[in-house]
C-alpha cells in the first residue's frame, strides 16, 4: 500500500516537474529570442558548440583555427606538389 502510494505520487511529481520544466524552458527560449543579445555572434548550433575538453578561451580557439587553416593549406600544397 505504502509502495503503491510512493509509486503513484512519485511518478506524478516527476511528470509534473518535467512538464513544468518543458513549459518554462519553452517560455525562456521565447523570451531570449525576443531580446537578442548585444553580441549575436555567439549563437551556436543545437549540437555541442564547444569541445568538452581543450582550451575554450577565445585566443585558444582562434589559435586552433589558425593552426588548422595553416595545416590545411600545407596539406593542400603538399598534395599539389606530388
Amino acid at each position: 500500500m505504502q509502495g503503491v502510494n510512493l509509486a503513484l505520487v512519485g511518478m506524478g511529481v516527476v511528470f509534473t516537474f518535467l512538464a513544468a520544466l518543458v513549459f518554462l524552458t519553452t517560455l525562456m527560449s521565447r523570451v531570449v529570442a525576443r531580446y537578442p543579445a548585444p553580441d549575436a555572434g555567439l549563437e551556436t548550433i543545437g549540437g555541442d558548440s564547444r569541445p568538452a575538453s581543450g582550451s575554450n578561451s577565445p585566443e585558444g580557439v582562434a589559435d586552433r583555427q589558425r593552426l588548422v587553416a595553416v595545416i590545411t593549406a600545407a596539406i593542400r600544397q603538399h598534395r599539389g606538389h606530388r
Binding site: G3, A7, V13, L21
Partner: protein
C-alpha cells in the same frame, strides 16, 4: 619453529575463507568485464580492484583504519564523492539538443517509471517472503532503474548504505549492458514503420539559453523538490561553469583532474563494500534481478511515451528516442541511433536522442529527491 608457525598463521592462504575467495573471483570477473568487454571500465576497474582488496584476509583495508575504509568515510558516507562526480558530469553535459526540443523532457519522465515499478517489485518480493527489503532498501534498489551511477550511489548511501556495494555493481553493469538489454525491448514495442521515422533537424540554440537553463532548473528544483537540490544543484553548477564561458580553467579541471581523482577514490570506496559478508547474501541476487527489471521497464515506458507523443504531436517523433530516457548517457542514445539506422539507413537519431538522454538524468535525480523525501 614457533615463529614459523605464527608466520604461517599470518598468511592469507591460512586465513582465507571460501567466501572471500569467491569474492576475489567476483572482483576478477568485474575486471575481466571492464577490460575485455569494455563494461564501464572507468568505474568497474576501480570497483573490481577495490573488491579484491576488500577481501584480502588478515589485513584491514576496507575496515576500521584501512585505506579503502578511509576513502569510504571521506566521500561515500558523506555524499561528497557522488556530488563532485555529478558536478563534473554537468560540466560535460550539453543541453543544446534538449533545449532545441524541450518536449523530449517528457520522455525522460516516462522512463523513470522503471524506478517506481522496481520499488513496488522489491516490496512485492518482500510480501511474498522471498526477500526481506525495508521500504528504504526497496527505494535504493529502485534507483538502479535511473541508469545513473552517481545518483544510485548517492541515494543508497543515504537510504541503504548496507546495500551500496551490490547496487553500484548492478547500476554500472546494467548501464554497460544497455546495448544488449534495450534493443529487443525497443523492437518489441515499435513497428518497423515507427522505427523508420526521420526527424527534422534541431534548431539553433543560443548561448544565452544554455546559460539560463541550468539556473532555471536549479530554481525550479529549489521551489518544488528541495531534497533533489544537492544532486541537481551540483549538476547545474558544473553545467553553468561550462556554458558561461568565463571560468574555462575551472571547467577544464572539473571535467578532467577533479572528476578523475574522485572517480578513482569513489571506485575504490565502492569496491570496499564488496566484502564477502555484505555481498554474498541472498538479497544481492534479488538486487541484480530487480535492477535488470528496472532497466527493462524504464526502456519500455520511455518507448511507449514516444509512441504517444508521436501520435499526439504534429511534428513526427521516432518513438525509439524514448528508450534514451533511462539516461545511461551516452550509451543509450547511441543504441537508439544504431537501432534507428538499422530500420532506415538515412536515419540519424543521435542528436534527437541526446535530449531525452540528458532529460533522463534530470528525471532520475528528481525521482531520487522524492524517494529521499518520502522514505528517508
Amino acid at each position: 619453529m614457533e615463529l614459523l608457525t605464527e608466520l604461517w598463521y599470518s598468511t592469507g592462504i591460512y586465513q582465507l575463507e571460501l567466501k572471500q575467495a569467491a569474492m576475489i573471483l567476483v572482483g576478477l570477473l568485474l575486471l575481466y568485464l571492464a577490460i575485455s568487454k569494455k563494461f564501464e571500465p572507468l568505474l568497474l576497474v576501480p570497483i573490481g580492484f577495490g573488491g579484491i582488496l576488500a577481501n584480502i584476509p588478515g589485513v584491514d583495508i576496507a575496515l576500521s583504519e584501512g585505506v579503502l575504509a578511509q576513502f569510504y568515510q571521506m566521500g561515500l558516507s558523506t555524499g561528497v564523492f557522488p556530488l563532485l562526480i555529478f558536478m563534473g558530469v554537468g560540466a560535460m553535459t550539453d543541453f543544446g539538443p534538449l533545449l532545441a526540443n524541450p518536449r523530449t523532457l517528457l520522455l525522460g519522465a516516462a522512463a523513470q517509471f522503471g524506478i517506481f515499478a522496481t520499488v513496488l517489485g522489491a516490496l512485492f518480493f518482500t510480501d511474498l517472503g522471498w526477500f526481506d527489503f525495508t521500504l528504504q532498501q526497496a527505494a535504493a534498489i529502485g534507483i538502479i532503474g535511473g541508469a545513473d551511477g552517481p545518483t544510485a550511489i548517492y541515494v543508497s548511501g543515504i537510504l541503504a548504505p548496507e546495500l551500496l556495494g551490490p547496487i553500484a555493481v548492478a547500476a554500472y553493469s546494467y548501464m554497460a549492458l544497455v546495448p544488449l538489454i534495450q534493443p529487443p525491448i525497443m523492437r518489441m514495442f515499435t513497428s518497423e514503420d515507427e522505427r523508420r521515422i526521420e526527424m527534422t533537424q534541431l534548431r539553433v540554440v543560443s548561448q544565452r539559453e544554455k546559460i539560463i537553463f541550468p539556473l532555471l532548473l536549479l530554481i525550479l528544483v529549489a521551489l518544488a523538490i528541495p531534497s533533489a537540490a544537492p544532486l541537481l544543484g551540483m549538476f547545474c553548477f558544473g553545467n553553468l561553469m561550462k556554458e558561461c564561458g568565463v571560468v574555462d580553467r575551472l571547467t577544464k579541471t572539473a571535467q578532467n583532474a577533479l572528476i578523475n581523482i574522485v572517480t578513482i577514490l569513489l571506485g575504490l570506496a565502492v569496491g570496499s563494500r564488496l566484502m564477502a559478508d555484505e555481498f554474498l547474501v541472498a538479497s544481492t541476487l534479488g538486487i541484480l534481478a530487480l535492477g535488470m527489471v528496472a532497466f527493462a521497464i524504464g526502456t519500455m515506458t520511455g518507448v511507449l511515451m514516444g509512441k504517444l507523443m508521436n501520435y499526439l504531436s504534429a511534428a513526427k517523433i521516432n518513438p525509439l528516442i524514448g528508450a534514451a530516457g533511462v539516461s545511461a548517457v551516452p550509451m543509450a542514445a547511441r543504441v537508439v541511433n544504431r537501432v534507428g539506422t538499422e530500420a532506415n539507413p538515412h536515419n540519424f537519431l543521435l542528436m534527437h536522442a541526446m535530449g531525452p538522454n540528458v532529460a533522463g538524468v534530470i528525471g532520475s535525480a528528481i525521482a531520487a529527491g522524492i524517494l529521499i523525501e518520502m522514505v528517508g
